[in-house]
Amino acid sequence: MKKAFPILGVLTAIFLSYALYLALVVAPREQTMGDVQRIFYYHVPSAWTAFLLFFINFLASVQYLVRRNPSTDKVANWILITVAAVTCIASVVIAVVPALKEAMPKDVQPSSIGTTGIIIAVAYFLIRKFFSVEAVDALAVTTAEVGVVFCTVVLVTGPLWARPVWGIWWTWDVRLTSTLVLWLIYVSYLILRRFSSSGQTPVMAAALAVFGALDVPLVYFSIWIFRTQHPQPVIGGGGSIDPRMMHVLLMNWLAFLCFAYLVCWSRYRLEIMKREVEEAQALESLLEPGSMAR
């Protein structure tokens, strides 16, 4: 694994450079906004990556809470299986009943509901299979921290795009405000983890992360539910996009996903190492002569 890291690092750097070339040179120039629209190729993939990392953080936090007790662990497993089954059945029912299909938002396929349910269950069981209870907590810290970095990119590139297009840096619109709240929730999560020395810190942080994750769907669906200044989503929300632009967008997202994976990998190893050092230091202080007398 140690040998794979530099190779993957070089490949990711090449991929990111290629994605940058696509965004700056290959992607067609947008007629209304001009070249400033190219911020889109960094702003949107960063937001999607942040959402994905917060989603993993949510699953890891739920697992940290439920796996400490075997009975709640079993209940959680069955809930996940039920969610996957119910969403699959719901997508079939919606596809068959015309009245329900008409009530769905435009451009949203009924099958996407079942797909979402299955993705949630598969991701949950994959994390469960490959991470122990302690490792799942390290995964939660890692994804929250890297997620905050990507969310910061979203909050910085957004105003830099808004200023030339809307004429303002910021507006208290639902999409922008809920994204800022999301960022603040995860920053508070990291502050809690950094400065709290209580033994219950991981439990409190996991509970905060579970509630914090509820803001992610609000951020995503806010532009469908409310009238906002923010543009409509380019996928499944009534917005349309040139196929060449879509290709560049997806390539940039893939490049950012590879980059996020590598950063998470390094940060996760660091977190595991930190815990091992803390354990060794605690053991050493116990074994020190005279430590019992103190």
Partner: protein, 39 residues
Amino acid sequence: MNFLYAAYGATWAIHIVYLITVARRYIRLKQEVDDLNKK
């Protein structure tokens, strides 16, 4: 164009600063490991 370059530059500045922070934490931790091994 200035806004475009500012956005791309800010993105990489944020990522690089974060990577430097992670690297510094790693170096500090490595020193602690070495100290523990010496003891």
